[in-house]
Symmetry: C3
Subunit: 138 residues, 3 copies
């Protein structure tokens, strides 16, 4: 059996936005107990990461590290017409993930205790980000 839905996450500037609960809520309504969840982000200027869900400081430190690693500056880049935060967003996305693959076991995502799913927004302005969720299983 294969089912899918689209989840929309509203972002308000750079940083990590959790969406584990929305995924779990959707999974809870499906008939599948064993399978594979794919979360696929349909954008190239934000990304997906699995990170610690306990201390919110982790998400702030991660955001700040990427700000240092991929400095926002138009010199050094060709692709600048969409703003100084656009090419850096594509690079930051390449350094992280466009999709997450998580096994479903006994009806639950097989996440570790401290793992949470996040949209990592790389752009400064608010965006609506679409994540296609697909569950394959039985």
């Amino acid at each position: 059996m294969i089912v899918h839905t689209t989840l929309t996450v509203s972002t308000r500037g750079k940083g990590l936005y959790p969406f584990t609960r929305q995924v779990e809520a959707w999974i809870g309504k499906q008939q599948i107990r064993e399978g594979l969840l794919t979360a696929f982000l349909q954008h190239t200027s934000c990304s997906l990461v699995i990170q610690e869900n306990a201390d919110p400081d982790v998400t702030l430190d991660l955001r700040d590290f990427f700000e240092r690693l991929v400095p926002e500056e138009t010199k050094g880049y060709r692709h600048t017409t969409e703003g100084a935060d656009d090419m850096t967003s594509h690079i930051r996305a390449a350094l992280t993930q466009s999709s997450l693959s998580i096994p479903l076991v006994a009806g639950r995502l097989a996440l570790g205790t401290w793992q949470g799913l996040y949209v990592f927004e790389h752009r400064s302005h608010p965006h609506q980000r679409n994540i296609l969720l697909q569950l394959i299983g039985e």
Copy 2:
């Protein structure tokens, strides 16, 4: 149903090489309408990324950023017998992806409007790169 094929992409030095069309052409010949595509790269000195398909400058800026992030120099590395661009290639591969997972919905890859699939070649000389495409679905 599970089907697979091997796609070969010829690279001519460092940079991004699109292969979305080849994947779509192969998918169009299959009987599967809903499922999961896995593109798996069978090499460790190149990688796969999803990036913007509109402005080719994006791919050049991404290539140049990795050149700065992982400088090509033999000092600082032990693994240098295969040339100055070999260990840097392994590192650049670790920072990106060996495989891409993309849901198939209604017979089409669920890519966003601006998303394209690319081989990111990290070595300087021409190579033939094999990508195993696998489609699981119904």
Copy 3:
């Protein structure tokens, strides 16, 4: 058919720990010949990578590069209560993978000749790391 198991890898400080053989041994006992293997790591301070399995120097150079790329220093980070190597571990994990997706063809992982699977431990002290292996196929 969907099967799964949990593999535990013991780590003794920062570096890469191979686990390809354990995965192949488990696959050899399953009835599935064509399918998709997902290796999912249930932690946020280590990660998974596919790297060259021939020259062990590659894994040392990769470890050292990440030490330079994400310097272990408490200044500049908020999340420091778990030690200087904790926030850097989360960042290094975000830059690599939490899961690997590898097609199974004719009963074997479709790895390239030089590809091996590794746990990339980012913490200094010994840990037991759990990897959920799942095989979907027929």
